[in-house]
Amino acid sequence: MEKTDKTLLGALLSDDDVMPEAAACPMPRSVFPADMPLAMAYVPFQTWQKTYDSDAALSRGTLFPCLDLPFIGEEAARNDK
């Protein structure tokens, strides 16, 4: 019977995550350019966009839809979606 992994990470990793024969590291780094520095926080710079009208802005608390980020008590964008 295969040794059961007691640690949290061991329990999280299912069998198909374990790919001993995989050539490259399974963690893709595709979103950022290759020369993106590691271990640095990065906040995308806001650019101008169509704004809310004044009444909507006042009630939403921001003029910019891209900054309208209400905390809804859970992940805003689910990973699997």
Binding site: Q46, T51, S54, D55, A57, T62
Partner: protein, 90 residues
């Protein structure tokens, strides 16, 4: 406060908020042409609706008092004195 006055005050608040948001954006994007154009148009709109409100209902800030015959700021109800504003001014 009459509903007419409340509606106008709401417009002043909305315009003020919009201009303030543009100001915050321009702080970090000082040469953004779209942001600058937006700021110019909405500042104008804000100033005109503010003038309209203050002409009808009195100053919203002390320094908005004209102070020609009296110091309106203290001789008229303060903006936050909602019930006192019933029936408008003299």
């Amino acid at each position: 406060m009459t509903s007419e006055q409340q509606k106008l005050l709401r417009r002043v608040q909305a315009c003020a908020f919009t201009v303030h948001e543009a100001v915050l954006y321009l702080d970090s994007h000082p040469t953004c042409t779209e942001g600058l154009a937006f700021y110019r148009t909405h500042k104008e709109k804000y100033e005109s609706v503010l003038a309209e409100y203050q002409k009808k209902y009195g100053p919203l800030t002390a320094c908005a008092s004209e102070g020609t015959r009296k110091w309106e700021w203290v001789t008229e109800p303060f903006p936050w004195e909602l019930c006192a504003n019933e029936g408008g001014n003299d």
